[in-house]
Amino acid sequence: MKCRDEIIGLMHEYLDEDITKEDESFLRGHLRSCEDCRAHFHELEKTVVLVQSSSRIVASPDFTQKVMSSLPKEKKKVGAERWLKNHPLLTAVSLFLVLMAGTLFGTYNQDEQFSVSKQPNLMVENEMVVVPSGETVNGDVVVQNGDIRIEGKVNGNVTVINGHNYLASAGSVTGEIEEIDQIFEWLWFKIKNTGKAIFQINEQK
């Protein structure tokens, strides 16, 4: 019986593919000579084949959906992050617009100092620009964060940003008079001026 237990042990080692060459040849020799052990070995082999032949069974089609609905809810932050990852172009455009708006708004708020375009015959009194009576100012006049009183003549446009213009009955302006007190108007003014400057540079070339 001890011999039989040893042989059965070797059979299992053989089936586990964990047997030495010597033990395998010993087992083969024994199986050739012993009918009982041969029958036992064939039964073991048949058992393995039968178990391995068990048909593959698959989970139900809605298995994944059921699992996902059972999971704890993900944080909103994560959902937002995933949306951003899935829409890189929209994210980039949005970020650009936000940064641009921030920059422009910052610039608009920073431009709170009084300033005026340099023309020789303009007078400045406490953030009030005056075109004196009888004087003619050639070129555009831009006043920022201050007011303008026109008693003389301006050959060009008058633009007042965050201020007011006062046109005396004797005063005259050949171009347009424009008051800007909103960010979008100011932005449009900046774009126009930049465009003009570029156009002038190109013309000079």
């Binding site: 039964e43 048949k46 699992v67 944080k75």
Partner: protein, 187 residues
């Protein structure tokens, strides 16, 4: 496949649930198969397979990324099945055996729309017999047999899943095989 899974795990760790859905898709049939072969009941197996994935998701932060994910997942599923077998109460399911009918289950009591070919019936009966004999094995032999012959895993992987020395796994497979030989020799 492991490389894709590891990538998805990193996304899950960042909180992306959609990445976990891909992991479920990859492993659902394997996990369900283990649970079914261990429990012998589709309904119960599906419940436990789903529970295994939920537990994997909840505890994913404790997964060692250097380890094989399937090993970790199968360990969760196998442990759930073993726990269920240990405290199993008789339940009423359609695929539960009908008392005194030698292997017939509730499904077989529902009239079939079409007659099955004889070969198919024989094949189904054989499958049911094999599954019934697997279920008769004590749980400590059943798990290694299922993992070795149905999931076709190596002894090393089985030892990692069951958290047992390779020698113990070998002994249990030998004993499980012998028990099945006794039960299936008449086929």
């Amino acid at each position: 496949m492991e490389a894709i899974v590891k990538l998805r795990i990193k996304q899950v760790l960042k909180g992306d649930q959609n990445a976990f859905a891909e992991i479920v898709e990859l492993y659902k049939d394997k996990v369900f198969q283990i649970c079914y072969r261990m429990l012998g009941n589709r309904h119960e197996a599906e419940d436990l397979a789903q529970e295994a994935f939920v537990r994997a998701y909840v505890n994913i932060h404790s997964f060692n990324i250097t380890m094989k994910f399937s090993t970790w997942l199968y360990r969760i599923a196998t442990n759930l099945c073993i726990d269920r077998l240990r405290k199993k109460k008789p339940d009423f399911y359609l695929d539960a055996e009908v008392a005194g009918t030698e292997g017939l289950d509730m499904y077989s009591q529902i009239p079939a729309d079409t007659a099955l070919p004889e070969d198919e019936v024989e094949s189904m009966e054989l499958q049911e017999t094999i599954q019934a004999q697997i279920e008769k094995l004590p749980e400590k032999y059943r798990a290694p047999i299922v993992l070795k012959y149905i999931e076709e895993l190596s002894l090393k992987e089985i030892s990692e899943i069951l958290d047992l020395p390779v020698g113990t796994v070998k002994t249990r497979i030998h004993r499980g095989r012998e028990a099945l030989r006794n039960q299936l020799r008449h086929l």
